[in-house]
């Protein structure tokens, strides 16, 4: 479009035009993202109620509500469950976490030794 060597004027045109296009392109992409999000939200709204129900609960049986100060533990367990299921942590809801004390001391000792 230009000769091999550019004058400073030509260089400014190239620089200004290019940075404007970069901004416009990325601005338009950001609008598109918002549009897509809005459309998806609209489409999912009627389905939302069953969606919550169908979200797989945690593997552990639900017995007891978690107190707020255990949020760190909940995060760790959620991450571990997500890892085991191969799903995103946001794709399911952990409703409750309860310690299970049904195993005997013998099996716990054998499991601990197997870990080490």
């Amino acid at each position: 479009m230009f000769g091999e060597y550019l004058t400073m004027g030509q260089a400014s045109i190239v620089a200004l035009f290019s940075i404007t296009v970069v901004f416009l392109v990325l601005l338009l992409i950001s609008y598109m993202i918002q549009l897509i999000a809005a459309i998806i939200a609209k489409m999912q709204k009627p389905k939302e109620a069953p969606a919550v129900k169908s979200a797989p609960a945690a593997e552990e049986p639900a017995v007891e509500e978690e107190p707020a100060d255990d949020s760190h533990l909940v995060a760790v367990i959620t991450a571990a469950v997500a890892c085991c299921l191969g799903k995103e942590p946001g794709s399911f809801v952990v409703k409750s976490i309860t310690p299970l004390n049904t195993e005997s001391d013998w099996s716990r000792v054998s499991r601990t030794s197997a870990l080490h």
């Binding site: 479009m1 230009f2 000769g3 091999e4 060597y5 550019l6 400073m8 030509q10 260089a11 400014s12 190239v14 620089a15 200004l16 035009f17 290019s18 940075i19 296009v21 970069v22 901004f23 392109v25 990325l26 601005l27 338009l28 992409i29 950001s30 609008y31 598109m32 993202i33 918002q34 897509i36 999000a37 998806i40 999912q44 995103e88 946001g90 794709s91």
Partner: protein
């Protein structure tokens, strides 16, 4: 007998290595020897200091190989004679094949989630491309041609494959110098960025805690690469190789039904291409091409490019922070220079320095991946002007 010995000596590289055959600033230098020492220095930096070792080791070794006299690894095929090994491998750079393939692999390893959750971060990715154009301007001023200045400017995009693609198309003679400048500065991001980030922001701004990002649905993540591909390539066909491959890689990842492809892209293909790309780019740094005054100018312009890019991102971050009533931490703007994920990690580290309970990493990943798209678009623009 003496004749045989003499001939053997003359055919060995040792006879040439000490020849003062390169002139830099009017001083004759043993070019091959200087380049070999330089290659060893880069190998040291890569292996011992851990400067981008996955790329700098092949680059430095390619540099070493091409500067060994009579090895002729970059020899062009002429008549019936075959070319050198690196000449053939270099065709992947010359024809613009390797850099888009690297983008394919990068796409498969990129999560656009933080970007989709906070679309404003795209603007920070755009602002950080300022460095490209300021440096382009500076390079013109220093007497480089248009295509050369464009290739030097793109160092400011802080995106290796983009810089290599653009330079291989516009100014292949500068490829060695630009590759080394780009990758060295990318490794130096943790050194270059923090002082700029500190100088341009106030302590209160650096302490700003940002709201948690909303969760992004799988559908959004799948639609995003498709929509971006259609829109950007329709608007700017020259950006097609980079954006197309980046988004294909990302779609493969987000689709979630082809884990083997994702694994192949993220690991095997990525490293295979890195070796070929690094080695052949390094092989462009022969003594006669590298030991020139231009190289020093490129190194200086490169650091300006990086700094201006960082400044552009941080300044727009400041503006956003002012406009949204202090919800945005301007530091995340610095991550707008691509250098994924190094720049985002720098932001996280700096943010935590001023407010230990602050976690900016995910917020910085938005501008960071936006920077990749931004520099690919900028490269498309420069190709449009100078190809």
């Amino acid at each position: 007998m003496l004749d045989i010995l003499l001939r053997f000596w003359e055919s060995s590289g040792f006879s040439q290595i000490f020849a003062f055959d390169t002139v830099l600033f009017g001083i004759p230098l043993p070019g091959h020897l200087v380049m070999i020492l330089l290659a060893c220095l880069f190998l040291y930096l890569a292996i011992h200091k851990g400067f981008e070792p996955y790329l700098l080791i092949p680059i430095a070794f390619g540099m070493l190989l091409v500067n060994l006299p009579f090895a002729n690894l970059m020899l062009h095929p002429e008549g019936g004679a075959k070319g050198g090994l690196l000449y053939y491998l270099y065709q992947g750079v010359d024809l613009g094949i390797y850099p888009p393939l690297i983008f394919l692999c990068i796409g498969a390893g990129t999560d656009f989630g933080p970007l989709i959750a906070n679309p404003k971060s795209l603007l920070l990715g755009a602002a950080a491309q300022l460095g490209i154009f300021v440096t382009f301007f500076g390079a013109i001023f220093l007497g480089f041609t248009g295509p050369e200045a464009a290739s030097i400017g793109i160092i400011g995009g802080a995106d290796g494959p983009t810089a290599l693609l653009l330079t291989s198309q516009l100014a292949p003679n500068l490829l060695g110098a630009i590759a080394i400048a780009a990758y060295s500065y990318m490794a130096l991001v943790p050194v270059i960025q923090p002082p700029i980030m500190k100088a341009l922001t106030t302590e209160e701004e650096r302490k700003i805690k940002m709201e948690q990002l909303r969760p992004v649905s799988k559908t959004e993540k799948i639609i995003f690469p498709i929509v971006v591909t259609i829109f950007v390539i329709l608007l700017l066909p020259d950006a097609a190789p980079l954006i197309g491959m980046l988004m294909l890689g990302n779609l493969v990842k987000e689709a979630g039904i082809v884990p083997h492809l994702v694994d192949a892209l993220q690991n095997s293909l990525m490293y295979i291409i890195s070796i070929f790309l690094g080695m052949t780019v390094g092989a462009k740094a022969s003594a006669e091409m590298f030991l020139r005054a231009e190289t020093i100018k490129i190194i200086v312009l490169g650091v300006i490019a990086f700094s201006m890019g960082t400044a552009g991102g941080v300044l727009l971050g400041k503006l956003m922070s002012k406009l949204d009533g202090g919800k945005t931490n301007p530091l995340i703007g610095a991550a707008g220079v691509s250098a994924v994920p190094m720049a985002a990690r720098v932001v996280q580290k700096e943010g935590q320095k001023y407010n230990p309970s602050n976690f900016l990493l995910m917020h910085a990943m938005g501008p960071n991946v936006a920077g990749v798209i931004g520099s690919a678009v900028a490269a498309g623009m420069l190709l449009l002007f100078f190809k």
